[in-house]
């Protein structure tokens, strides 16, 4: 496992730990994934989230635990369904090329 994958999975596990409504997290894998400047991109499907008008991704600076720039977009399951049906997911957030992570059974 490379450093970026390790960091991404650290963050993914943390988000599953603290967000009880988190159903699935898609890690979007870009064309230049080996480039350390390419951000970690996570599309998080959280049933507890607030549905909003627009798709919004927030950038997070590298930190001690996650030493890569990270982009996180959170949606509800219904929003994701709508975004996919209406083809409104931004091109860089194509989840057909993403690796899905599901909550581990307790």
């Amino acid at each position: 496992m490379n450093d970026k994958t390790h960091a991404a999975e650290f963050l993914i596990n943390r988000h599953f730990e603290v967000e009880p409504g988190m159903e699935v997290i898609y890690r979007i894998v870009g064309d230049n994934e080996d480039d350390p400047n390419e951000p970690i991109m996570l599309l998080e499907v959280n049933a507890d989230s607030l549905p909003t008008r627009d798709f919004n991704a927030f950038g997070f600076a590298p930190s001690k635990d996650v030493p890569f720039r990270t982009l996180v977009a959170e949606v509800t399951p219904e929003e994701l369904e709508t975004l996919r049906r209406e083809r409104r997911l931004p091109p860089h957030w194509d989840i057909t090329r993403a690796k899905p992570y599901y909550r581990r059974a307790a």
Partner: protein, 171 residues
């Protein structure tokens, strides 16, 4: 004398500008967390003032001079009919989200130097004493406000973004 609507519209424009800068700085590792969070604190304070100027009868002088009110605003925003509608049938989730967001809102409000300075001296603008040493905000990690890992942290950003986006300026 300017109308309350004029004040409200000016506050929402300023809040959106602060928010835009916050977002620009937030994923940069060459900028101190103090500066990043300072813009978040300013955006949220002004966001609350815009809504309160528009929707309440709160005194103008108090609104313009006070640094507190964001947590109270967020509680009202999350309790609005529109937001409650979006959580229809999800009461347990709604209560948890409201609790987490208001907890973060309070932490962000406390980043103002004049708010709870005795019990929470850490702020994003002025140095404070920690025992025998003096801490500069630029040297402080503000890990209690790390929105990348806090419960509800990403949702909090989403809620603030929605409150900014969905504010309708009146003609």
């Amino acid at each position: 004398m300017p109308s309350r609507t004029a004040w409200a519209d000016a506050y929402i424009r300023q809040a959106r500008s602060d928010w835009s800068l916050f977002r620009e700085l937030h994923d940069r590792d060459d900028v101190s967390r103090a500066h990043v969070l300072h813009y978040l604190q300013m955006a949220t304070e002004k966001l609350a003032k815009a809504y309160r100027f528009r929707d309440t009868g709160a005194k103008e002088e108090e609104l313009r001079s006070s640094h507190v009110g964001f947590e109270r605003f967020l509680r009202l925003f999350l309790g609005s009919a529109e937001v409650v509608r979006r959580y229809a049938g999800r009461n347990a989730q709604y209560l948890r989200v409201r609790k987490e967001c208001c907890h973060i809102a309070r932490a962000i409000e406390q980043l103002t130097p004049s708010v709870d300075a005795e019990t929470n001296p850490a702020n994003t603008e002025h140095p404070w004493a920690d025992g025998e040493r003096v801490v500069a905000p630029v040297d402080h990690a503000f890990s209690h406000a790390d929105l990348s890992t806090l419960p509800g942290g990403r949702l909090f950003l989403r809620v603030v973004g929605a409150a900014l986006d969905e504010y309708e300026e009146r003609p």
